[in-house]
């Protein structure tokens, strides 16, 4: 069975931020945020037409600054958060004056400064229709995002990322800023944000959260964060630490993800080129370690439905899809129903014969030519995923059909 060729889309700017539009469950849609210090940054809305293998794009302007992280609301398709860097110098000072007051800058140098901020945005309601009518025009005169509110607090540091409450109603977000985790309540259609509780990482030196993940289990009351080589778990009700994996990786931990089906399982990746799978109930040793990449691993993502499929992106310009059967929620593959069992012993025997699947690398994708900093599964089609490299190349790939049918049948 031939697999469909990957679909490639090129952005004009360098980019690191990628997310699936979480609230959208019908169309395959990804959001990409660009990084440019000289031009207005953009958010590209990438629609993928699976049947025709065609990409449709829409561009929205994000004038506030270069985007380092992007997150889509799980409830409202039009709402998203970004973390962005704002650089200021004398010449820019006037134009960005309205923002300056709310910036959480820690630099107070004489001529220029770079600050990281976070904000909640709403896409203009007619972005879609506009693009359909005249795509050329929209490329030239893109619409601008509507700012809903800033997630900044002058007492806290630079925002690293913003996490939406998984499967929530789009009312709660967590932002990680330097060594603080801030839980925000969004009110009045997300136009107002108030900090409901905070947690602070105490310790020697300048501690800084690099990334985090809101657990979808336990009634969404847990958060995992990464700082330097450690992974920490937090209880959001008390805002206290519940577990800590010291030296989870030899080097910096870059990303985390929760297994969507097994509540204690957590995947992490980092600068030691490894991907590790943890059972947070016993954190002495990882359950499993993958060492397939030849440089830092920047992103790890579980498939939302079939948690044996794990996607990892690395600065060796590769994207790897692994099949981690042994630690998935379906370690023996698809469970055979009782009815099917009665149909015939022979069939069952056959099934058993091919059943023991081993953990393996399904595929290595080499379409990128620069470091791949982000990879995401589609929220609509569980067999589809996108990856984004620094040079602005977005690649959409599918799980190989053979594997897909093996998992399904």
């Amino acid at each position: 069975m031939e697999d469909d060729a990957p679909v490639i889309y090129g952005l004009e700017f360098q980019a690191r931020a990628l997310t699936a539009q979480t609230a959208e469950t019908d169309a395959v849609r990804f959001l990409v945020g660009t990084q440019s210090l000289k031009f207005d940054n953009q958010i590209h809305i990438i629609d993928f037409d699976d049947e025709n293998n065609i990409i449709n794009k829409n561009v929205l302007l994000h004038q506030a600054g270069e985007i380092w992280h992007i997150g889509a609301s799980p409830a409202d398709k039009a709402v998203l958060t970004t973390c962005y860097n704002k650089s200021e110098s004398h010449c820019f000072l006037l134009s960005v004056a309205p923002f300056a007051a709310s910036l959480c800058s820690s630099f107070f140098s004489s001529d220029s400064r770079v600050v990281s901020c976070a904000a909640v945005w709403r896409m203009p309601s007619d972005w879609e229709t506009g693009s359909h009518e005249s795509p050329d025009e929209s490329a030239h005169n893109p619409q601008t995002l509507e700012l809903l509110c800033h997630l900044d607090d002058s007492t806290h540091g630079n925002a690293a990322c913003v996490l939406w409450e998984p499967m929530g109603d789009g009312k709660r977000v967590i932002s990680l800023a330097d060594n603080h985790a801030l839980l925000w309540d969004l009110q009045e259609s997300s136009t107002q944000a108030t900090v409901s509780s905070t947690a602070t990482l105490e310790g020697k030196g300048q501690l800084k959260f690099t990334s985090g993940k809101w657990s979808p289990h336990h009634n969404c009351s847990q958060l995992a964060t990464a700082n330097d080589t450690a992974i920490r778990g937090w209880d959001l009700r008390t805002m206290s630490q519940i577990y800590c994996i010291e030296n989870a990786h030899g080097q910096l931990v870059r990303d985390l993800d929760f297994n969507p089906n097994r509540q204690y399982y957590l995947a992490s990746c980092g600068d030691d080129c490894k991907v590790k799978f943890w059972d947070v109930r016993s954190v002495q040793e990882p359950v499993k370690t993958l060492e397939e990449h030849s440089h830092w691993v920047w992103s790890v993502r579980y498939n939302h439905s079939h948690d044996q499929l794990v996607l990892t992106a690395s600065s060796d310009s590769r994207l790897i899809l692994s099949n981690m059967v042994s630690i998935s929620s379906e370690p023996f593959g698809h469970l055979v129903d009782d009815e099917e069992l009665s149909e015939g012993e022979e069939l069952h025997q056959e099934d058993k014969g091919k059943e023991p699947l081993k953990d393996s690398v399904v595929s290595t994708y080499e379409e990128h030519e620069d470091s791949v900093y982000a990879a995401e599964w589609s929220s609509a089609d569980p067999w589809l995923f996108a990856s984004l490299s620094y040079d602005g190349r977005l690649v959409i790939n599918r799980v190989p059909r053979a594997l897909k049918y093996r998992i399904l049948l």
Binding site: L37, S112, D272, S315
Partner: protein, 767 residues
Amino acid sequence: LAGSVPVAEDPGRRRRVHGMLKLYYGLNEEGKAPEQPESLDPCDINGPHFDPELYLNKLRRECSLTELMDQETCMVRQIRSLDSDMQTLVYENYNKFISATDTIRKMKNDFKKMEDEMDCLSANMAAITEFSARISGTLQDQHAQITKLSGVHTLLRKLQFLFELPARLNKCLELQAYAQAVNTHRRARCVLQQYSHLPSFKGIQDDCHAIMDKLAQELRQKFRDGGSSAKDLSECVELLLQLDEPAEELCDKFLSHARSRLDSLPSPASNTDILEFIDRGCNEFVSSLCLVITSYQELFINHAQKGELASKNIPQMANGKLHVFVDDLAARYFMLVERRIQEEKGVGDNSLLVRALDRFHRRLQAVAKLLPGSAVPNKGTEIVIRAATERVKQYLSALQSFYMDSLTDVRQALATPRLSVAGTSVAGPLLSSLSASILNQIKSVLASVHLFTAKDITFSNKPYFKGEFCSQGVRESLVVSFIKFVCQSSRQFCETAGDKGGSTPPALLLLLSRLCLDYETSTISYILTLTDEQFLVQHHSPVTPVTTLCAEAREAAQKLLNHYVKVQGLIISQMLRKSVETRDWVNTIEPRNVRAVMKRVVEDTTSIDVQVGLLYEEGVRKAHSSDSSKRTFSVYSSSRQQARYAASYTPSAPMDTNLLSNIHKLFSERIDIFSSVEFNKVSVMTGIIKISLKTFLECVRLRTFGRYGLQQIQVDCHYLQMYLWRFVSDENLVHFLLDEIVGSAAHRCLDPAPMEQSVIEVICERG
């Protein structure tokens, strides 16, 4: 002339007479062949076909007168001499005939005298015969009488013996001469039995029975007391057997006696050394056991086979009992021995143990000879085998701990002189001393183990020690296991150190990697060949081939070297990362110097280069000109770099940036950062530098730069460019990565105004 004819005939006749005489005397004429071809020439005067007529005619025809005259005189002379010869011969023959006649006459007279004397002799002989017959007739009666008398005498003697028997037996009993008593009684027993119907004999028989019962009683008592020596005991048993005691009971009693005696042997104190222990065991237990077996067999088996007891199946019964007895005792003995052998843990001197085992085994052979079909020797061999395998295991663990100890030593040696300048230069000698000491240790262990198969050791020719012990025991579980252990422990260094932040010093990793590589290239095959030679291993069962081990060693070496590269790369990466992360690149001042961290990076790289150079060969690098740094630098700065800067700050064409860099990337190969390295210096250094520069690149991409920040990066990169190219296999790689770094920094710059190339050069050359 007529007279000449007889003359001519004469010699021929003479010859004939002569020949006949010769024939008579059995002689042959010497020197002449008897059958000379007889001439047919009628003119040959000596030939048989001589024709005088022809001869004369011939002479007359051929010769002159004088010649004829000469011929005639010559012929006359010859005839005369022939005549005289003939006369002499006739005379001689006549004389001989006369003397022969005389002799015959004399003999006739002598025979007549002898005949008379013979007649006289025969008459005398007849007279003698007559006399002798008369004498024997007279003596006949007296002789018969004497024979009868002597018969009566012996009968009386026998009767007297019988009558005296009770008294004699009693006396024997008193004197404890039991053997004599039994002997005596046995002689009389049949007679007494036969005549027991006569009252007098009956009395004697009863008396004898009573006495013999008492004797038997006494013997049994003595037997039961058991205080007597084995010899006494066996005598006792022999007598009792002769007295028709039940053999089975005696067997049991005998064995239980023997057992109690053997049990009472003192078990040696545990602090004696193994040889002494075995020695005592052999001398006391095994020899006593042998003695018991011998005497038992003598008594119950060999003895019984001769006598009437054989019919009662006693030998089989006795033999069965003996086997049970021996097996039981031996089992206990073996338990003791085995326990003692297990206590033998020190691996220092193997010869003592081997000698002890040898003695143990040798002594058991005696049992085997005495008691064919017994399981004891086999069990003994099993113990020896177990001891040997146990020993091999101990040696393996000793080797392993030796290896770990030497690694600890090496680690210390690496750690201590680091303070001094010569710190890195000890790696070479350390490696050689490490591998030499390991090799020596292996050799000495092999020598120790080899004792088990020495020619003078009795168990060495058992099939186990010839085959399985050599191949499975020594080769597989000792040598191969050790090599595998070395590889495995090396691999562990990579795994444990990975997460705990490099607990293993990198120099040790490097050293071990070289060690494993050396193993792969030569040491393994050397060790295995040595083993095979020493032990003449015949591979009955499949053994691990050299290639497998070599592959394993190579894999370990590769892993170690990769890990070394990773660790060293990370150390440098860490410096670079810290230097990029902690600086405020937006508000930095104009660069005047190369940052200290870059100098440190170059210094560290140089020292790593030295370190690796001590252990690994140079390796191949792509050719470059002598003034490489200058030349490539100009290319790097002028064409590509400038073009990229130009693109990046031309506001009208934002696409060009990516286009250019993408096109550039199309033509350059993908670089694997943490990839496998080759076993040479250049490859190792390339690996380390790749890791460091990639880290640099990724860190730069996470920052935002001001104008001077970018310029500082430019300066730093140029500095690295100047020094790092010499370490790597392909300098373009360094150029490419440094290019990327400066390019990325330019992208991330708020105010990209690159520094003048000449200024950069000046700054860098200033140091």
